[in-house]
């Protein structure tokens, strides 16, 4: 029961309890008591002793990342729609390997999720330094191969967060 | 655009996915089709909620549905990779 543990427990209980309040919208004593105990229970289950957070997030970069990713998704979504609706189905799938030097597991998670979320590219395998990506055609591979995505992810998770 | 029209379109789309589930050459095609169907079902639930103006109830159901979908698909893929590795 050290100080960090108590702090994180309080943090998660507060976050979950606020979420409960916003979702349930009932403010009588019984409902709030049930909500608080549920939040506390979940926080107790998820906060394990000793596991420190090893990564840093730059929050303003993360806030910039979301609209950027969405604009890329929109562009490639229109492109993929064109490919699918084209009568001759002009797809030319490629499977390629991409080396990514990202500091932490969380950065790899964000990058793999972004690749899969973008239409036209799917992460097939991901580990510490390599991603195997399946793309629908040459145009879809652009953002991954030109390392634009990697740079944006690296801005959200700056280097220096150690690997677990 | 009327919401009932949206309901109809999504129902027809579910039938198209169902074609892939029934027909799909491999297990993974079926799995992907089922995933698509459950995404459609989540959207469908929210649309139904908006039609009846009881969104708060249907949103809870669809949240549970999304989580069940995640757990189910992860379990099945885990099983399939283990089975064919041997």
């Amino acid at each position: 029961m050290n100080a960090i543990y108590t702090k994180r427990l309080a943090y998660w209980t507060a976050v979950l309890f606020v979420l409960w309040l916003m979702l349930s919208e009932s403010f009588n004593a019984l409902h709030m008591a049930v909500g608080f105990s549920a939040a506390l229970l979940v926080a107790l289950l998820r906060t394990d002793l000793g596991a420190e957070r090893t990564y840093v997030i730059r929050w303003w970069r993360a806030l910039l990342y979301i609209p950027w990713l969405f604009s890329r998704i929109l562009v490639s979504g229109v492109h993929v729609s064109y490919l699918i609706l084209h009568p001759r189905l002009p797809i030319k799938p490629v499977l390629f390997r991409h080396r990514a030097d990202l500091g932490s597991d969380e950065a790899v998670l964000l990058m793999g999720n972004s690749i899969t979320l973008t239409p036209g590219t799917v992460t097939v395998e991901a580990d510490d330094e390599e991603l195997i990506v399946h793309a629908l055609d040459e145009d879809s591979t652009g953002d991954v191969l030109s390392q634009r995505l990697e740079k944006m992810v690296a801005r959200v998770f700056p280097a220096g967060g150690g690997r677990r | 655009m009327s919401l009932l029209f949206v309901l109809d379109v999504i129902a027809i789309l579910i039938v198209m996915y169902l074609y892939r589930v029934v027909r799909g050459p491999t297990v993974f095609d079926r799995l992907l089709g089922l995933n698509g169907i459950s995404t459609k079902a989540i959207i469908l639930l929210v649309v139904i909620g908006t039609v009846y103006e009881r969104v708060e109830m249907f949103v809870d159901i669809s949240t549970g549905y999304a989580l069940l979908n995640l757990v189910g698909v992860l379990a099945i893929t885990k099983y399939l990779t283990q089975r064919w590795r041997a």
């Binding site: 799938p93 | 949206v6 993974f28 992907l32 989540i42 995640l70 990779t81 064919w84």
Partner: protein
């Protein structure tokens, strides 16, 4: 807004039927998840104006966007590991 989302959903379903193998079909599914669901749910969230229901629908949308890439990644990885041959130029 709902109309745009519906368009992407229809395209994704057409792709699901037309595309040749698991790996290419997963692109169609990611089209549904990211664009179709986004536009339809955003349209529904503001359908009756802003209220607490807007927030609830946004929670479902966030959950969907976080969870669906994981699912399609898991499916595709299982397909590759169990020896499905993709119709693709292999540049690994």
């Amino acid at each position: 807004m709902i109309g745009i989302g519906l368009f992407f959903l229809v395209v994704a379903a057409v792709g699901m039927v037309r595309l040749p193998d698991v790996f290419t079909r997963s692109h169609a599914v990611s089209l549904t998840d990211s664009l179709g669901a986004f536009f339809v749910l955003m349209g529904l969230a503001t359908y009756h104006g802003f209220s607490t229901n807007t927030f609830r629908i946004l929670v479902v949308l966030a959950l969907l966007i976080l969870v669906n890439p994981v699912i399609s990644h898991a499916t595709v990885r299982a397909a590759l590991r169990s020896g499905q041959k993709p119709v693709a130029e292999d540049r690994r």
